[in-house]
């Protein structure tokens, strides 16, 4: 028999999948999921809601492309970057942008757990770690 925690996680995963329509979570579907959860026994509901929230946050993180740049980024480059990352993830992306002078140059892109560091600071840090400077 599966332990209770594993059952909760399995059901939460199914609920997350059920919340997604057209490749992204929709308000209509999430409402339906919450209504379903409202009918569950109280003891189960809290654990399920907690797991569901955690997974939805993770789902959001996997769709969020955060771009940190030292200077400006022209539209063409932005579009190429967003398009490429969108193709890589296979999901519609939420794009956030931030200017971070500490990067010195270039940019640093984060999508989900993955960080792609093409900044000047990152290059210098890596060179320093290898003892080249």
């Amino acid at each position: 028999m599966k332990p209770r925690k594993a059952k909760t996680l399995t059901l939460a995963r199914k609920l997350v999948a059920a919340s997604i329509e057209g490749g992204e979570p929709t308000s209509r579907r999430v409402d339906a999921v919450l209504e379903f959860l409202g009918r569950r026994p109280m003891a189960e509901r809290k654990a399920l809601l907690g797991a569901y929230l955690k997974m939805m946050r993770r789902e959001e993180a996997l769709r969020t492309l955060s771009i940190e740049r030292a200077g400006t980024l022209d539209e063409t480059s932005r579009a190429t970057l967003v398009g490429g990352m969108g193709e890589k993830s296979g999901k519609p992306l939420i794009v956030t942008e931030k200017e971070t002078p500490a990067l010195l140059g270039g940019l640093k892109v984060r999508l989900g757990d993955d960080i792609y560091d093409a900044s000047l600071k990152g290059i210098l840090d890596r060179l320093g770690a290898h003892g080249n400077i």
């Binding site: 996680l9 955690k54 993770r58 140059g105 989900g112 757990d113 993955d114 960080i115 792609y116 560091d117 093409a118 000047l120 990152g122 290059i123 210098l124 890596r126 060179l127 080249n132």
Partner: protein
């Protein structure tokens, strides 16, 4: 100025460091040297993970929602929410001859205050053991310098010989004496200029011991000038259980470098009982299912994959070897406990040390009856085989009849002879710590004992007589000892010379003297 900056930037750009990709996660909880991490979706099993403030960890548990990693180093600065990232590589340690003479931690960083170590190569701590085909049979001896072992439980290069016994029975002493003996042999061999001489390099892995004990061991090795051929890897009890878990594998990687480069190495794991306890602690914190005595189900694999990496390789693979001397501590002499029986079934023999013998003054306190070397005389030089071939049987017969020793006057001549010979052999095998005997000396002493030259000497004076004979031979018959060391067997001429030397000694020796 901007031109200068542009030049520097293009120089940096030309180094081709490109884009670095890393997979990150956040610490959700951290306790007892184990961190649970959310994220790290692309981490691999046993991959090294980098935490803030120069702390490294190893991913052990890959679960659907989180990753469990053991931490190495000072974790006091880490907290929930700290970000960590994968490094894309397995945990590796520096290897090479530059480590000889140094004391290092489990990551290969020096802790002896003698400056950095210039190693150019690294090896992963977790590696697959050599397969069947690259191996060769064990046929070269490791001279421990402990006569009881070299004569009756001989160890060969590439063998795994377990040293097992209760606390304070002399287990570490045997291992350290072996290292000291090897260092002395190495020095003499290198001085002789013999092109066929193969030194043995030693690695001592201290797992879960007190810092004071480790310091004492290092001092002993330094005093005996053995550190030049030794690497000491330490994971004391004050460190994380993760360090204690990784330490034997780190040491093994260092030993494997010697083996794979055609050299011979000896590694001591002191001790694997504490290693199993550290692994149990990590596994319980990681919520892995526990089995017998709360050990995780793969505690056998923990040691089997470590000890299988010790081997003798054939000529096509460099002809190197890694000999392992794992140490296990028993409780109240119980050799049928879980961890001891696991390791007994893995190793190629065991040396049992018994508290009763130790307390009676028989040191090393080796129980010959239950000690065994599965390699046997294949790992002995011919000379030792010639003189020590019957010793184990004689000792067994002595033990059987020992209870009758109190009836000395009522026994037949044969029984009395067996008892007399056995008692003298027991005395002959007594040896102080830190005083390994050369193999030529062992051959000479055993030859003298087997040819009745000690029969007239009272049992209580045998130790002194043996020392006296050793000194006499070194002063007056050094050529005989040199001949035994060179020829490695006792031919007629050498036997005659040895006989003359021993008779000469006996004539001038007062058999009643203490």
């Amino acid at each position: 100025m901007s031109d200068i900056l542009t030049k520097i930037e293009s120089e940096i750009a030309s180094l081709g460091t490109g884009i670095a990709r890393s997979n990150t996660g956040k610490i959700t909880s951290i306790a007892d040297g184990v961190a649970r991490i959310e994220g790290l979706s692309k981490v691999m099993s046993n991959e090294m993970i980098e935490f803030p403030r120069g702390v490294y960890g190893m991913a052990l548990n890959l679960e659907e929602e989180e990753v469990g990693a053991v931490l190495m180093g000072d974790v006091t600065g880490l907290k929930e929410g700290d970000e960590c990232k994968t490094t894309g590589r397995l945990l590796s340690v520096p290897v090479g001859k530059a480590l000889l003479g140094r004391v290092v931690n489990v990551l290969g960083a020096p802790v002896d205050g003698k400056g950095p170590i210039n190693c150019t190569e690294t090896l992963p701590v977790e590696r697959i053991a050599p397969g069947i085909l690259p191996r060769k049979g064990v046929d070269q001896p490791v001279q421990t310098g402990v006569m009881a072992i070299d004569a009756m439980i001989p160890i060969g290069r590439g063998q795994r010989e377990l040293i097992i016994g209760d606390r304070q029975t002399g287990k570490t002493t045997i291992a350290i004496d072996t290292i000291i003996s090897q260092a002395r042999i190495n020095r003499e061999g290198e001085k002789s200029g013999d092109p066929d001489f193969r030194p043995i390099y030693s690695i001592y892995v201290a797992i879960g011991q007190k810092n004071s004990t480790i310091a004492r061991t290092i001092r002993t090795l330094e005093k005996a000038d053995a550190m030049d051929y030794t690497i000491v890897v330490i994971a004391p009890a004050s460190e994380n259980p993760a360090n204690q878990y990784i330490a034997p594998y780190s040491g093994c990687a260092m030993g494997e470098w010697f083996m794979e480069h055609g050299m011979d190495a000896l590694i001591v794991y002191d001790d694997l009982s504490k290693h199993a306890v550290a692994y149990r602690q990590i596994s319980l914190i990681l919520k892995r299912p526990s089995g017998r005595e709360a050990y995780p189900g793969d505690v056998f694999y923990l040691h089997s994959r470590l000890l299988e990496r010790s081997a003798r390789l054939d000529k096509d693979n460099g002809n190197g070897s890694l000999t392992a001397l794992p140490i296990v501590e028993t409780q109240a002499g119980d050799v049928s406990a879980y961890i001891p029986t696991n390791i007994i079934s893995i190793t190629d023999g065991q040396i049992f040390l018994v508290t009763d013998l130790f307390n009676k003054g028989i040191r090393p306190a080796i129980s010959i009856g239950i000690s065994v070397s599965r390699v046997g005389s294949a790992a002995q030089i011919k000379a030792l085989k010639q003189v020590a071939g019957k010793v184990k049987l004689q000792m067994a017969q002595y033990r059987e009849l020992e209870a009758f020793a109190q009836f000395g006057s009522d026994l037949d001549a044969r029984t009395k002879a067996t008892l007399d010979r056995g008692a003298r052999l027991v005395e002959l095998f007594k040896q102080p710590n830190g005083a390994p005997k050369k193999v030529a000396t062992q051959v000479a002493l055993l030859w003298a004992a087997q040819n009745n030259y000690f029969d007239k000497i009272p049992v209580k004076n045998i130790v002194a007589a043996a020392n006296h004979l050793d000194q006499y031979l070194q002063a007056n018959a050094a050529s005989v000892l040199a001949g035994i060391a060179k020829l490695k067997k006792l031919d007629d001429a050498l036997t005659a010379e040895l006989k003359a030397a021993v008779e000469g000694w006996l004539q001038g020796y007062d058999v009643k003297s203490a």
